[in-house]
Point group: D3
Chain length 186, copies 6
């Protein structure tokens, strides 16, 4: 599994959630997590979560770090959702390691009661994908700046270390499941 | 999904990891998480993790809280391992909420550098299961007592709230995946 | 699994077979069976059965009861087709209980040699769906009125009891598969 | 899919539910339904249904027609249970065609309130299997004799026509799923 | 599984890779391999391989034999790719039987260092498909004519025997997997 | 995926087909192909192919090269059989590259009409495995010595290059399936 941190500003408009975006943009032929920072403004046709669509919700942030995860090993919805929750927990754990205590509800992290993140997961016939975005700054919602993670260097470290933590988690799982016997039966 | 907290002391000898143990013991016909407290002493024939077997490792604790999770909705190894990691994160989050900061490495929680937990996950032809155990007290390893969660009342609350948190997480996932559109494609 | 009987007349134009229609229309976040009564006139772009398309067949009824079933637990074509057949049998059993004897051929019911029903099943990347329609009245095809089930009250009861019977069947299966041991092997 | 009617008396002791029994006994290398008639006396070690085991229930009949279905196209528990229910409905439909009206509850048929049948379904790592047995005569339970289907010729016809009906249903499903477009999406 | 050799010239423009093309064109309701000969000129909107798209590669041949394989038994990407490689090997084996020695790299055959074939595989929500094309004549690439398989009769035999070889391979696999016990476990 | 060539003589008795043998023996936590040379004498309890069992066939060779392949990415029987056939073709291609022309029938290679190889494939609840053995010398069956590949150095090269060719094939497939769009639909 490959982790790529985009060096330049890159805006999220929702089209990056499409299957094969990573291959098409960067030629990656592995499962991948692509991390970038930029504005977020999701076009209605790219809204995967129908709740947002029905509510005509805007998914907007002036400055957001986005993680785009793609796996080709399964198209099981249950699996991509379990992975999404696990990723959210990983972000919470990282922040906790910096002394920033968030609370997780499903795929959302909250900071002092304010929603800090957006996330969606789904599948196509060929892959499963997760988008997870976290505000760097925001006038209404929770954001990293308020948490004291505001300078560029910290953000870059945040992008890199979380990207790598997910790759490590994935590879660790792949190794663990290769040493466990099938269950006995009552 | 059902959560059952056993009211009496119950020892874990590894046979509880077998498929259908929950039905056979309690007549549960749902996915379930069974929580109990007692000694832990895993017999070699019930060791699922071959690493422990090869190392002839003893899995022993005088006083442990055990969570036994069983799902029948899939026998995918990848899924049960993602769920196991997610469960481990949930326990870490709960402890963090009590001001007890652990670090997670895969399916293990560490408290001040000492291993606090044991866990295994696997599948049979009919179900997937997870055992997750956390020491209440232990002479060598990390344990809840040292973390200040030692009295019986706190332990009961710990068992109950984590059991319920996992059920809530599972049901929340089931709901979320029923409102997401399939992915578009580049 | 949830059963919803629409209280008002609702026409079937084929778009209701799309994945996530139930969520989008009624906010349901469970597997579901939605039951309604109205005219049926399937637009060519919503025809799932290519045989109908090739034959340029019209799927039309002035007054039809429609059942729309959606499951998110699997996208296996074999499973949705087995469920479709089972549902068809359930309808036949219900009618038989009223003394109306139909014969089933695959996903069709016949009443005195006349086709009484239409049905289709398929999957997307996220869910599996079944449409099953039964004529209340029809100039050419079999219909409930001719079977003596013509008054509004009987139709409402028919809609409700079959909807509930399918939910019961589904939940009964989910319970049964949670108490069976894996097979031995020769 | 192959249907084999055993010409001679053959007793069911539960071992026939094992995977690959059909290959081992008859060299069949297709999905199959094997039909035979004889006594039924299931040994405890072959009991797949843990409810029977826990209740120490005897599964006994002096004269029973047994259908043993094996599919290798999937090891999905949900699918084998849907197929089991569908098979049960097929038997009910056949009897109804003879003027014998039973009621179905899950995988059981009842005749005038008396249980007429036994059935179990499960999977191994390589196949899925169903046993469905119906009493020809029985002192306590419902049976075909009481339903007026007692002579040997009728029983042979019953065995043959139901075996063939299931094969036809299976092959019809396989054909139908090869002409349906994927679902559109809201 | 059915093999159909189209008697007349038929051009490949890429639309034949769509799911259900065989049913729509020939009414086939089995898994199938359709074989035809004609020009090949793949329109950009039918390009499945994004590498070709990104490279703006032309997939063009004045005279090509095309094999279109469709399976409905699974939508697993790993399986369709294994089948594609196996098919490629079958073609190589057939040519080798004629004394024409090619080398295989993945899904490509090379003749004296020149690429002889094109191939792609993918899935939709309902089926998996493979296109495999081999140049009969070509100014740049390897082709059957140069290999001494140029006359119409040889080409027809080539089309037929490879089509039948794949059907035989598929059916042989289906039979073999119905006589193997599950694995034991260390 | 990892390829391990055992440096010393190692006999095959059939127990190596068990799931997790590679982990238990060598600590491998990846998909793997383990290659070794030694006598072959399969004990009846390790016979996976029931045809051999029924025929009471001996699977015996004084000197055989064995390839043991294990994948944990799926427990689909269809997939492991497709991989087994593909592996067999790879061996045939390698021999062909040395000027040794064999013919393949399913999972068997024949040299001048004599069976050169044995092979079996199956799954457990956690992995899929293939054994493929090829006689180095044999009094009755085909063998590498007769094909002119008799000296130790050639055998070592044979073991290594085929092991690596399969790993390359597997990894090439994994890369290819990460750049293909889902199919369109008629």
């Amino acid at each position: 599994m490959k982790c790529i941190i985009l060096p330049d500003k890159f805006d999220y408009d929702g089209s990056q959630i499409s299957s094969l975006w990573a291959y098409n943009s960067f030629g990656v032929q592995e499962d991948s997590i692509i991390v970038f920072r930029g504005a977020c403004d999701v076009k209605i046709e790219h809204m995967i979560d129908l709740e947002d669509r029905r509510a005509n919700e805007s998914i907007w942030s002036e400055d957001m770090v986005s993680f785009i995860i793609e796996h080709f090993d399964s198209t099981d919805l249950k699996l991509v959702y379990a992975r999404q929750r696990l990723f959210t927990a990983i972000v919470g754990e990282y922040l906790s390691g910096l002394g920033v205590y968030t609370s997780r509800e499903g795929d959302d992290l909250f900071l002092k009661g304010k929603k800090l993140t957006v996330s969606i997961a789904s599948t196509s016939a060929v892959s499963q994908k997760i988008h997870f975005g976290i505000n760097v700054s925001h006038e209404v919602y929770g954001n990293l700046r308020e948490a004291g993670i505001g300078d560029d260097e910290s953000i870059v470290r945040f992008m890199q270390e979380i990207g790598e933590a997910y790759v490590r988690e994935f590879e660790d799982i792949e190794k663990d499941l290769r040493k466990s016997r099938p269950l006995g039966v009552v």
